[in-house]
């Protein structure tokens, strides 16, 4: 069987079933947005790695090299933000075709360095090798105060589910580009910005948190499966940018599908109890659903009907 038949979710399950841990200082291994290790009295260490591959996560037709560098850092910082933490160090592994122009590398690093500077990330190492396609793997290391760690498994029955902003625009932008159309959504796809600042304001108030890198549906399913709870998402409450409605029409798609099953929005989705929610002042926070007991299932509610929530974008299957 090929991995395209199996899909990413099952493939990861297959891989993880044989992994062994040899030490007790691991707070969280595989199965969250970052790994979590014991560090010092106050902090845990967060470690995450993410690969951008040419013609999958970016291409040279739509992206400038600087935008690629920016996206590589933002997408990794987003994983650290979703744990409640802040980034500190990065290792950068580049795979480059031999005919890559040196100007491309300079401009790529302009993007990497600019975005790293914004987040005060120190680049402490890396690796360069050659290959047929450009590929950028970033390992980002951050810290989180122990008391502020936001694990996927932390959602409580009765929590509200909320997001930090509009969803689906990035994927709508990609679809415009694929269809040779123009529109405001393209900017969200080419110039993603993670929500580290909001993440740091949410800590202490929220329970489970994730970044919306694979679409709202995937992230809610991850939280529910890890926390052993159910959930209901109200379709009408999912926040959409006014431009996505216009742009989705251009390619004859439903904008809610982008929000639910798209990806790379890098907003945060979190669960929070009602009392804590009321304390969040001046923080953009849009309720989209509620955590239910496990036996209630995981549903999308629309016009009085409940539909089972399913995974969105999966690598290999698309």
């Amino acid at each position: 069987m090929n991995i395209s038949d199996l899909g990413e979710i099952e493939l990861i399950k297959e891989i993880n079933k044989n992994i062994k841990l040899f030490t007790k200082d691991i707070v969280k291994g595989v199965g969250d947005d970052t790994a979590v290790l014991k560090f010092d009295k106050k902090h845990h260490l967060l470690l995450t790695t993410d690969t951008l591959v040419q013609d999958d996560h970016f291409n040279l037709k739509w992206f400038t090299a600087e935008q690629i560098g920016n996206k590589a850092i933002e997408s990794n910082v987003s994983d650290i933000a979703s744990m409640g933490g802040f980034p500190k160090y990065a290792l950068i592994s580049l795979t480059l075709p031999k005919n890559t122009n040196i100007n491309f590398i300079d401009t790529l690093y302009n993007g990497i360095n600019k975005t790293s500077k914004k987040y005060k990330i120190s680049i402490i190492g890396g690796n360069i090798t050659h290959g047929k396609e450009i590929s950028i793997t970033i390992t980002l290391i951050g810290l989180v105060e122990k008391k502020n760690l936001c694990l996927r498994s932390n959602a409580k029955v009765g929590d509200l589910i909320a997001v930090t902003g509009n969803l689906g625009s990035s994927r709508a932008g990609l679809q415009l580009l694929r269809n040779g159309k123009k529109g405001a959504s393209i900017n969200y796809y080419l110039n993603p910005k993670c929500k580290l600042d909001i993440g740091r304001k949410l800590i202490g108030f929220v329970n489970a948190m994730e970044d919306v890198s694979d679409g709202l549906a995937s992230e809610v399913l991850n939280i529910c499966n890890s926390s052993k709870v159910g959930a209901i998402i109200y379709k009408d409450l999912i926040p959409l940018n006014k431009n996505i409605v216009i742009d989705a029409k251009k390619v004859k798609k439903n904008p809610y599908d982008y929000a639910l099953y798209g990806g790379e929005d890098f907003e945060l989705v979190f669960t929070i109890n009602d009392t804590q929610l009321k304390k969040l002042k001046g923080i953009k926070c849009l309720v989209v659903g509620e955590i239910l007991p496990k036996n209630k299932g995981i549903y999308l509610h629309h016009k009085g009907k409940n539909k089972k929530l399913s995974y969105g974008y999966e690598h290999f299957k698309e």
Copy 2:
């Protein structure tokens, strides 16, 4: 200008010149086998990342999937060993073509898991995405006792330069395979083993240390440039396996070229003063040269003549 014209050494210089550090807890950033961060009272944290790309570092004709998994771990552990440390945790990023068979992944992970178990490495996270060619990026995290940290920059004038075993066999094996020949060297290429155990025995005795991943010449040049010293390597002292002499003849090459300019031997090369060297009992340790003052230059000595030492294998240029 393309990166193949510039070469790996100059490309890395170009990239590193704009890197900024935003924190004081970095003991060593770019420019050694691993990054080094402050960790606890006794230890520093070591972080390294290395990518294996299909048809460059391995191919599916010569390697089993298990051997690829083994090589990916061994090559990273080798970097930790060269700092005097020991590995603890790994993050594994896979890029896979959509038509990759699930059996390949299972067997690859057999190799990764077996070798990780040997070194008690816990796999704590990773990433899977798709691409045109198979690529495996491993980020390995280890520890080293502060007092035992072996930096490249630590070589002292008068130190002897020594290696832990025979050099060049891995590259000789690759050349046999490329030319459709057979020979004992092939095993060194397909089944590399790093020298973590010897590295841990050398700590406390040695000054600078590196692993011989890019050939002896490259590693000695790195040590000299970082330590601001010169060196002389005696060609006749470079240890060769008897099989490499036979195998190099089959492809009409000089085995010393493999030792000096080949790569992926994963032996350790270190500098040590004479008094400490005498204390090393029962540890394989073969002297190949001496550290000189910087103004004496960096030379290869052979039959009464000195030749300037030059870099060996470089990605992009070959």
